[in-house]
């Protein structure tokens, strides 16, 4: 198992380096001039040159990339702007601060949003999927199928806006979404994120219901399930010990991708509910042409997906011993 994890981790580092290189060359090749933006609107040529030098933009692009990578391990000093301690993902000339500081400030919200929503949609999605599979062709199955189809068709900006209007602005049932650290007040933390969790769950539950149902139906018709039943094992045990275990691989796969994507920035969700997470940070970085911040948010998103992929791979091995053997 150790070798398996090591191999996957090294692969992830290489993947992230490739993503970093692609992102860097793509972003820094665009016409926006970070030095001009950093220097201000009335910027004499000599000051512009100074700003370019301070930001390291007077170096060849490849050198700039290597300097950026080196900054992650040893930190970096931006002349006239300040020091960026390791791990330095860059220095935002808009915020005039290391981008990692801002990302770390926004990350707890995004993580809270993701974990809370995941618990809700995972519980509801898997439970509904199991019930639908066990009641295949019955009314419950049909209701679950139609509901999941509707849920999958909805968009967060639509459901979120409606929910805000009816539950917050019009009927005052829920409070305006906000973030309070869980360490400060757990109840306020939960209540502040309740609406985004529910809305995210409505959208995501549908997918989990459908995937759980279809995989479970498949599993229930497998030979080993039939054998278990033929041997007189209780239906509950058959479902929970055999069929559900086989279904978990599919669930874990899509969960890994969803968690990675949400941690990387639930852009529309955060924008809809006015939450200051990684998603909104990346949108603002685009608006203000804050390339270092944009680069960092992309790397966070990529890193989240890569990390969750490793976790999924490890979980594969836990759930299905055949993966370890192969």
């Amino acid at each position: 198992m150790f070798r398996f994890i090591t191999r996957r981790t090294l692969g992830a580092v290489v993947t992230l380096l490739i993503i970093a290189a692609c992102t860097f060359f793509l972003f820094f090749a665009v016409p926006a001039d970070p030095a001009r933006l950093a220097c201000g609107k009335v910027c004499p040529p000599e000051l512009l040159e100074q700003a370019r030098h301070n930001l390291g933009l007077d170096q060849p692009l490849f050198v700039q990339f290597l300097t950026w990578v080196a900054g992650i391990f040893v930190g970096r000093d931006y002349e006239g702007l300040g020091n960026c301690a390791a791990p330095c993902l860059g220095f935002s000339f808009v915020n005039k601060a290391p981008v990692l500081d801002t990302i770390l400030d926004r990350m707890p919200l995004t993580v809270s949003l993701t974990i809370g929503a995941a618990i809700v949609f995972l519980l509801f999605g898997v439970a509904t999927g199991i019930v639908a599979a066990l009641r295949q062709g019955k009314a419950l199955d049909k209701i679950a199928s139609v509901s999941s189809l509707i849920g999958a068709s909805l968009q967060i900006y639509f459901v979120g806006t409606l929910a805000l209007y009816f539950l917050v602005y019009h009927n005052h049932i829920l409070r305006q979404p906000s973030y309070v650290p869980i360490t400060e007040n757990p109840l306020d933390w939960a209540m502040g994120l309740m609406l985004p969790w529910v809305v995210l769950a409505i959208i995501f539950t549908a997918n989990y219901t459908r995937m759980t149902r279809s995989t479970m139906v498949e599993q229930l018709s497998e030979d080993y399930v039939r054998t278990a039943r033929a041997k007189g094992m209780q239906n509950r045990s058959v479902v929970m010990r055999f069929a559900l275990r086989g279904t978990l691989i599919t669930i874990v796969t899509i969960l890994g991708v969803d968690l990675g994507t949400l941690i990387g920035g639930a852009i529309i969700t955060e924008q809809t509910f006015g939450l200051q997470g990684i998603g909104q940070l990346s949108i603002r970085a685009v608006w203000s042409s804050d390339l270092p911040m944009l680069m960092a948010t992309v790397m966070v998103a990529a890193g989240a997906i890569v990390v969750f992929n490793i976790i999924v791979d490890v979980l594969y091995a836990v759930i299905d011993p055949r993966v370890r053997l192969s």
């Binding site: 220097c39 201000g40 609107k41 009335v42 910027c43 004499p44 000599e46 000051l47 100074q50 006239g80 702007l81 808009v94 915020n95 005039k96 601060a97 801002t102 400030d105 926004r106 805000l164 209007y165 917050v168 602005y169 019009h170 005052h172 409070r175 305006q176 924008q271 006015g274 939450l275 200051q276 909104q280 940070l281 603002r284």
Partner: protein
């Protein structure tokens, strides 16, 4: 004096252009009936009425604190402000745009400032100074005396040395954003070359401080309106002993009524009272709430929805600049329950469709286009009379002392365009069916505006070729001297209520990227502007600017005066004293209070 104001207006224009295309009914947005920008007494009618701001010069007595309180004022509580963007700069020297200048009133003071004396009425008074200054030497020398009891947040007295230092540091290379008027008056147009700033120990001789209370500025040429220039937030003061150069932008020292307690960039900011600010020295700032909580990251629609809902903590919330977006405008304007929480105010900026005089050379063609211009149709595209007014003058009524209206091209009587008159004029030219290349900012609203222009001018026989331009590079494109366009939109905002910060700029030097987008080169006009600038009688100068405005349109016609946006904003039910500052087009903090 350079390209900065253009950018500020551009930012506003872009922000506001996104706030368009709703449909609303009402009047023409012009008749005077109630003070501009006020929420109190607003009717539930779909459109509001406005009267221009009244700005006069106050006396030493007017310059004494405390500020005149708004009706029903209550001290204490925490007020919340919600908006989209954080402030890019907190160092006064770097402040130029209205959002930052407005916030700066809470933490920074200037030599002079605007005191609200009644709804829509303001007086220029001494802020740190005992009055608006004394001029001598024909307006070339200006002397100010600091008030007793003005202090920094640490309790040390504010001295003339601090005031001098604050001006000197605006010459430093790292200061690239603030206003440049006074620096140029003290030295040269290229002021950064004339003086490198105070950090190497060299002082600026043109500023004298004979004692701790007195400061004297010696300009190269007369400037009768200097007292207005000193009111700009960009000339706010910085303590010599605590100046951290570039870093000051992150951690400014307060001379105003509040101190920044915490600031998470782009997220939140909290202010608490400055114990060393004395209201008796301040005729401008009421500083009624105990604390300010500012939240950033909310789009105009979210802000409007929250303020409409008025639930919980949002009852004590307001917005500095989030104007009601088109999808809510009709609802906000027609809901009688929102009437007492609604504020309206037309833009104080000048908006123009410039002719490129290098290409559209015949004045009769320019006049014909002015007559045929579809102002009413454009107004409808923008959301109707409740969302846009139709000015007829180059100078904006809200930012021009001594404003006089005129209507040279029948815009008031025929806002849909006078096609017959346009045809009549075109018939007198060598090209009765001219082709006009019209460049526009490619936004959904401007696409619709362009269709309206094309269609209306076609009726007069003018063929419009529309050229969409990218929003990010729009000003770069129209700023090129050799651009291949005949007409394009551009904005400009006055830095103080006088034509002196508008006409000499938009008809100033013709250069690459300069704001003279019409490329108007007329030695006689330049001489006349120089003559008015040198006038020592400010009232006579204001009258002369207004007369020149009309003369330019009459004799040269370098532009079509564009529609003027009207902002509609809301505030929470427990927020009192909220008013849109007609000069800055933003809710000013001086009169805000929290109702129990």
């Amino acid at each position: 004096m350079t390209v900065r104001k253009r950018s500020a207006v551009a930012v506003l224009a872009i922000g506001v252009l996104a706030v368009t295309s709703a449909c609303a009914e009402g009047n023409q947005g012009a008749p005077a009936a109630q003070p501009s920008g006020s929420s109190n007494g607003a009717s539930s009618a779909p459109a509001a009425a406005y009267k221009p701001a009244v700005i006069t010069q106050g006396t030493a007595e007017d310059s004494k604190g405390p500020a005149i309180p708004p009706e029903g004022v209550v001290k204490g509580g925490t007020v919340t402000m919600i908006d989209r963007d954080d402030f890019s700069h907190l160092d006064p020297a770097q402040i130029y745009v209205n959002t930052e200048a407005n916030f700066a009133r809470l933490i920074s003071r200037t030599l002079t400032g605007y005191k609200r004396v009644a709804k829509g009425e303001f007086k220029l008074v001494g802020d740190l100074a005992t009055d608006t200054g004394t001029q001598s030497d024909g307006g070339k020398t200006w002397k100010f005396t600091l008030k007793d009891g003005v202090k920094w947040q640490d309790g040390t007295p504010i001295t003339s040395a601090d005031v001098k230092w604050s001006m000197e540091r605006t010459f430093a290379p790292f200061v690239t954003q603030g206003p440049t008027y006074i620096q140029q008056w003290l030295t040269d147009v290229d002021f950064k070359k004339a003086y490198p700033g105070p950090y190497d120990g060299k002082e600026l001789d043109a500023i004298e401080t004979p004692d701790d209370k007195t400061i004297i500025y010696k300009f190269k040429t007369p400037h009768a309106d200097a007292a207005y220039a000193f009111a700009m937030a960009g000339y706010g003061i910085v303590p010599k002993a605590k100046d951290t150069k570039e870093q000051y932008d992150k951690e400014p020292v307060s001379s105003g009524p509040y101190i920044i307690k915490s600031h998470v960039v782009d997220k939140t900011m909290d202010l608490e009272r400055n114990p060393n600010w004395d209201p008796a020295t301040d005729p401008i700032r009421g500083a009624y709430p105990d604390k300010w909580h500012l939240e950033f990251g909310f789009e105009a629609l979210q802000v409007t929805d929250r303020l409409m809902a008025d639930s919980g903590a949002d009852q004590t919330a307001f917005t500095f600049y989030a104007s009601t977006p088109p999808e809510r405008l009709q609802q906000v304007l027609s809901d009688p329950n929102l009437a007492s929480r609604r504020m309206n105010s037309p833009s104080p900026y000048g908006n123009y469709y410039y002719f490129n005089l290098d290409r559209v050379k015949d004045p009769k063609v320019r006049q014909a286009i002015n007559y045929a211009w579809p102002s009413k149709q454009i107004q409808q595209v923008m959301g109707g009379p409740a969302a846009a007014a139709l000015p007829t003058t180059i100078l904006n009524e809200n930012t021009t002392v001594g404003y006089q209206s005129y209507d040279l091209f029948n815009k008031e009587t025929k806002p849909e365009g006078d096609v017959e008159k346009a045809k009549e004029l075109l018939a007198q030219t060598s090209t009765p069916t001219p082709t006009i290349v019209y460049a526009y900012n490619q936004t959904p609203v401007q696409e619709q505006v362009t269709v309206a222009i094309k269609s209306a001018l076609a009726k007069a026989g003018i063929n419009v070729v529309a050229k969409p331009l990218d929003r990010k590079t729009y000003y770069d494109s129209i700023g090129k001297l050799g651009n291949q366009f005949d007409m394009y939109w551009g904005g400009w905002g006055a830095d103080w209520p006088s034509g002196s910060t508008v006409l000499p700029i938009i008809f100033g030097p013709v250069a690459e990227g300069a704001p003279n987008y019409s490329h108007l080169k007329d030695p006689a006009l330049t001489a006349e502007m120089d003559k008015i600038t040198a006038m020592t009688d400010i009232d006579a100068a204001n009258a002369a600017w207004m007369a020149l405005d009309k003369k330019i349109q009459e004799t040269i016609t370098p532009l079509v005066v564009a529609e003027n946006r009207i902002a509609t904003m809301l505030h929470g039910s427990k927020v009192g004293g909220a008013e849109i500052d007609p000069q800055q087009w933003i809710v000013q903090p001086d009169t805000i209070f929290v109702k129990p």
